[in-house]
Amino acid sequence: MSRTIQLRIVSPERVLLEVEVVSVRFPGADGAFGVLPRHAAMVSLTEPGLLRARTVAGEEVEFLVHDGFAEVRGDRLTVLTRSAERPEEVDLERARRAAERARARLRNDRARVDLARASAALRRALVREKYGRRS
């Protein structure tokens, strides 16, 4: 088995990233999750957050991922997520508005809104705000 990992980030609409890396950290269900080559087969949920990988050439790759799955199998790590973007691609203004909207929805008519959906939207927006700003 090789000493690198084939990292792929796939959204329903297209393949976003396909690169050979030596290490990956992604936001798992129970906190950050590190994967090195020769990791055991695994399927994990991912939460909204920042995925970081170091490529074979030593570069850092950063990607914002949202809820989905990460699958390790052999020397491949596939992240299936509903959407993902590079930190510099984040539309901060839009994220801020989305966060406000979600907050307002959670605050006002708690009885009527779909709580799970609204809080998921809020978390996505917050993650975008947090990591988008850094670039």
């Binding site: 329903p12 609409e13 269900a29 055991a40 087969a41 399927v43 994990s44 949920l45 989905g68 299936l80």
Partner: protein
């Protein structure tokens, strides 16, 4: 024999129709390509999700509780409740036999059903058909136009179907849509959607599941269903445009053919008119 002015008018109008159908053909070709690209781009995600489900869902066959929140989706609904069918047609006409093909397939399927059914309809033409036949319609999903199909809109459709199934309103769900095989081949199909048939293969016990099997499957299964709907919608709209392109190209050819035909008649009539005029003049001169 038709008169010259009528013929000239018909030539112009057929020519205009030809222009329109040619333009529609070109529009359909571009759109077809766009939806095809979309379908190709969606393949990896679908493939990976299906792969995951195939490998992980084996555990559910032995123990339904292993699916967590998604467990009810594997069990058949109560008998007596209707069977739901998602019926996907087009919003607009002029797409050849596309709509009548899918309608025929639906009727075939309905004829084979023993239990009551109810339809979830996408597409104006599909809705018109349902109304004409007096089929019970649970919902007309007109706020999810196929023209703008995206994963999010497919997820919304899936949520409606899964919601009805979970609530026990329907005992099963089928998808009635058109499968896109190639530019020239598209096939109306009916495929089972819910309950999910758990694969017989045993779960891959080697795989670590984080945070745990029920949590992973609980989230994976709904995603899996969403991709299935996304594909059904995407393939339907792709087929629609393939069919429309084909129909419009035929119409353009037919219009050209017809124009040729009428022009020939036109020339013949003109020729005859001239001949008879000359004859009249000549015979008039001879009489003198």
């Amino acid at each position: 024999m038709a008169n010259l002015r009528d013929l000239r008018q018909r030539i112009t109008s057929v020519g205009n129709i030809e222009k329109i159908t040619r333009a529609m053909e070109m529009v359909a070709t571009t759109k077809l390509r766009r939806f095809q690209d979309k379908a190709v781009a969606a393949k990896p995600y679908t493939g990976d999700i299906e792969d995951l489900v195939r490998r992980l869902a084996g555990a559910v066959a032995a123990d339904p509780a292993a699916a967590g929140d998604a467990a009810p989706l594997f069990a058949a609904g109560a008998a007596g409740t209707p069977r739901a069918i998602l019926f996907v047609g087009s919003d607009r006409g002029l797409c050849g036999a596309y709509n009548s093909n899918i309608q025929r397939r639906l009727e075939e399927h309905l004829a084979g059903l023993e239990q009551p059914f109810t339809l979830y309809v996408i597409g104006r033409k599909a809705m018109e058909h349902a109304e004409r036949c007096g089929h019970p319609v649970a919902a007309y999903l007109e706020d999810q136009p196929l023209e703008k199909v995206s994963f999010a809109s497919a997820a919304a459709v899936s949520a409606v179907l899964v919601g009805a199934f979970r609530a026990g309103e329907v005992s099963a769900v089928d998808l009635c849509f058109t499968r896109f095989l190639s530019m020239m081949r598209y096939e109306p199909v009916v495929e089972p959607f819910l309950p999910i048939l758990a694969p017989a293969a045993a779960a891959d016990a080697e795989t670590i599941l984080e945070p745990g099997g029920p949590e992973v499957l609980g989230r994976l299964i709904p995603k899996f269903l969403e991709t299935a709907v996304y594909h059904a919608l995407l393939e339907s709209i792709t087929s629609e445009y393939a069919s429309r392109r084909f129909a419009m190209s035929n119409a353009t050819d037919a219009a050209g053919e017809m124009k040729k035909e009428i022009t020939r008649t036109f020339n013949k009539v003109r020729q005859q008119k001239i001949t008879s005029e000359i004859l009249e003049i000549v015979s008039g001169a001879e009489a003198l």
